[in-house]
Symmetry: C2
Subunit: 451 residues, 2 copies
């Protein structure tokens, strides 16, 4: 039956779109989460068009073959990894910009386009698309949509959900749905566009997106680097900036464990905690002054600049965290979010849990929105029992603080076993019924999100 | 069986919560849409608590009795009107503010609280909740959520969906679900919070809302009134302001037919078209200057002021539209939205359709976001065949321009017959399956939205 299906697929697609090359199959089993699927997928399909995606979902449905949609493969939760008996459906080649409409401040794109490439193209129209995950240079717009990606700027400029007007989606069986609209407002029927955003490939395949753009922000940004002797005070200073209604575009906090890893990597003299603030728009200087004053009042040693080179140097401290950690061991990047006022508590909790389990937990936070990335660093190739035990405690404590398991990376396979705990039994069952409304046979990305 | 159900309900609720008084039953059959339900509901329940709502949905489910949730009753699409065989469930008495957390910039409220009352209470915390429908003085937060209400400010500050973090919802059977979260970011499971927003009482009952607040906007606003000789030019001037990336907080456009109705009502010398612009925040004056220059370049006669009394006078021209129209006849307020660049076309189309059908269509637009309110004014008590024929053409033309049937009022009963046309058959069927996932027996607000 599977052979029949692959034969039908090969017939329906252009030559070369379907491959069973071992290298491609193997690549499809992994992403950047460190998770690898069991077994090799049946085939990889490189969709070139909406019709290709429709053919895959028509034939897969007819033969009850699971389909795992894949973009750039940069996911951090294993949401797009494909294993035995599954088809890996890549939309990476569907990367055209179909329309840029500066008057209506929207763009229509295919899902495979890389976030940074889109923004480069939008620049000449004086526009940008706000979602800016740290992976923007390598992650696709479709992947950003699948995980409701956030990033550094989203306390001020919103997450992916606030930046999408409509989606074209192919559902199991191959039907093409046009969800949402091109207008700013609209309340015709249920908001299936929002439902798709963050659904991690479990409902259908996004084949087109109408994106809400913003005019480029004018003026020169001001950047602040602030050194603190301890991370709790630094976290409190950041929360105080938000509470005082100062609105920087970026506010990042690197904790003590992270700084010591970084000091080792760069040779720089770093300890305590480091806060990076960037203010933009007409009131950049005024905002930066207010933020700097607040950071100083909490004991921070502040450098403030509108020199772009110096600013890049300060931002580099934050950016080097990932390579620094990877130089020491394997890294499991976690992604919890708490109400902003509980951020200092969450830092302390992670330190305590790390110390008790003998696990290195380096913490970096998007301090403007309470999203922390506790990063577990360990010498083994895969997370050990101690790492998972520590992670489980981090999740439980985060939920107890009124937080959530994942701010922007998604559930994937990595957190599927904790989903029910956060949602509660009744909502978990309801979410599964919604899944069935789209995908009655359960062929879309099985095992992800719900486990 | 119905008698049994009412008896059970009376037992489960506090004395006086269930009423069958004729006046109350009759009031529950109508809202501000002009639509009246057939027959009288079985009873009105004034819920005082989450437990009351749970009791109603438990007993209604057991007896398969339809439930129509009602807030302040100010809906413009007939979404909350209850008729024969139905229970009208009022949450108007559930109006407490449970928490205001300025540090985390959120509030937790019950659904019955009036939008303006909430904002008055938030003011002392230096915060506000952005959704500002024209009905804000009389409409409830729960109703704003049920219709994804917009308003005058939403081109700059977003619609209701962007201002809600989480919802507590009672579903058929009486189970209480906690959807969403208290954090800025989060992607744990499908976004059921967004799905509830704009669902018009067809999925469950919102009994609590965690709202995302904003700090009060600093500074004195600048206001502009601009007179144009024709509305097409005025609409083009407004679109040019958006395209030039000037970001006023408010931009309203009153068309020619509306102005002549207004001139008759007030005795003022008004014709052509009127544009109201308001700019706020630190850059209010700069933004107002840029907007005024653009309006002048399109031939507008501009008055610009930061005097609050004079500003109120200019705003009054827009505000008096509704009483002015009501002084002439019955008013059916429509609510289409088009991409901003097509606004001028939509004005022309409405005029042409009105002239051809001999129907007065006064147009007022939220010009910052392309949301028009073509208001049909007629001497009869109910819309005539000619009015519906004209309305149907307006809807069809709006969809042809890439627009949507309803920007912010909802589908209710008024537009239910056009929903399938906008969504397409496949999406329409999918939306019904999603409805069934929440409400398998179809007891939540039947006949609304889907017709």
């Amino acid at each position: 039956m599977t052979t029949d299906a692959l034969h039908e697929l090969a017939e329906a697609l252009n030559d070369g779109a379907l491959t069973t090359d071992d290298d491609r199959l193997r690549a499809a089993t992994a992403d950047r989460s460190g998770k690898v699927a069991d077994g090799l997928p049946l085939a990889v399909v490189d969709a070139q068009s909406v019709a290709d995606v429709q053919a895959v979902l028509r034939i897969a449905q007819a033969h009850s073959i699971p389909v795992v949609t894949r973009g750039a493969g940069t996911g951090l939760a294993g949401g797009a990894i494909a294993g035995g008996g599954e088809i890996s459906l890549s939309v990476a080649a569907m990367r055209r910009i179909l329309e840029v409409n500066a008057d209506d401040q929207l763009a229509v794109v295919e899902p495979g386009i890389i976030n940074a490439d889109l923004n480069t193209a939008l620049e000449e129209h004086g526009m940008w698309w706000a979602p800016d995950p740290a992976s923007r240079a390598i992650s696709s717009v479709g992947g950003n949509i699948a995980t409701n990606a956030g990033g550094l700027l989203c306390a001020k400029y919103g997450v992916t959900r606030e930046a999408v007007l409509g989606l074209d989606v192919v559902v199991p069986g191959g039907e093409l749905l046009r969800l949402g609209r091109r207008t700013v407002k609209g309340v015709t029927g249920y908001d299936l566009t929002s439902l798709m955003i963050g659904s991690e490939g479990t409902l259908g395949v996004v084949v087109g997106a109408t994106l809400k753009l913003r005019p480029l922000v004018p003026g020169t940004p001001w950047t602040i680097g602030a050194q603190f002797t301890d991370e709790r005070t630094a976290a409190e200073a950041c929360a105080a900036i938000t509470a005082a209604r100062i609105r920087p575009a970026i506010m990042e906090l690197v904790g003590g464990v992270g700084l010591s890893v970084l000091a080792q990597y760069t040779g720089a003299d770093l300890e305590g905690a480091f806060v990076l603030v960037q203010a933009d728009d007409h009131d950049a200087e005024q905002t930066a002054n207010a933020a700097a004053e607040m950071l100083r009042s909490f004991g921070g040693v502040v450098e403030q600049t509108d020199d772009l080179e110096r600013a890049a140097h300060l931002a580099e401290i934050r950016r080097q965290m990932m390579p620094a950690m990877e130089s020491v061991g394997t890294v499991l990047v976690e992604d919890v979010a708490v109400p902003r006022s509980r951020m200092a508590d969450m830092f302390s909790i992670c330190n305590e849990i790390g110390a008790r389990h003998g696990v290195t937990i380096a913490n970096v936070a998007h301090a403007g929105d309470g999203n922390l990335h506790p990063s577990f660093v360990f010498p083994e190739a895969e997370p050990t029992e101690a790492v998972w035990a520590a992670a489980e405690e981090v999740f439980a404590q985060c939920i107890a603080l009124g937080g959530t398991l994942t701010g922007e990376h998604g559930v994937g396979v990595l957190k599927a076993r904790w989903l029910r705990q956060e949602l509660g039994d009744a909502q978990y069952a309801l979410q599964q019924r919604i899944k069935s409304a789209f995908d009655p046979q359960g062929i879309m990305n099985p095992g992800k999100m719900f486990g």
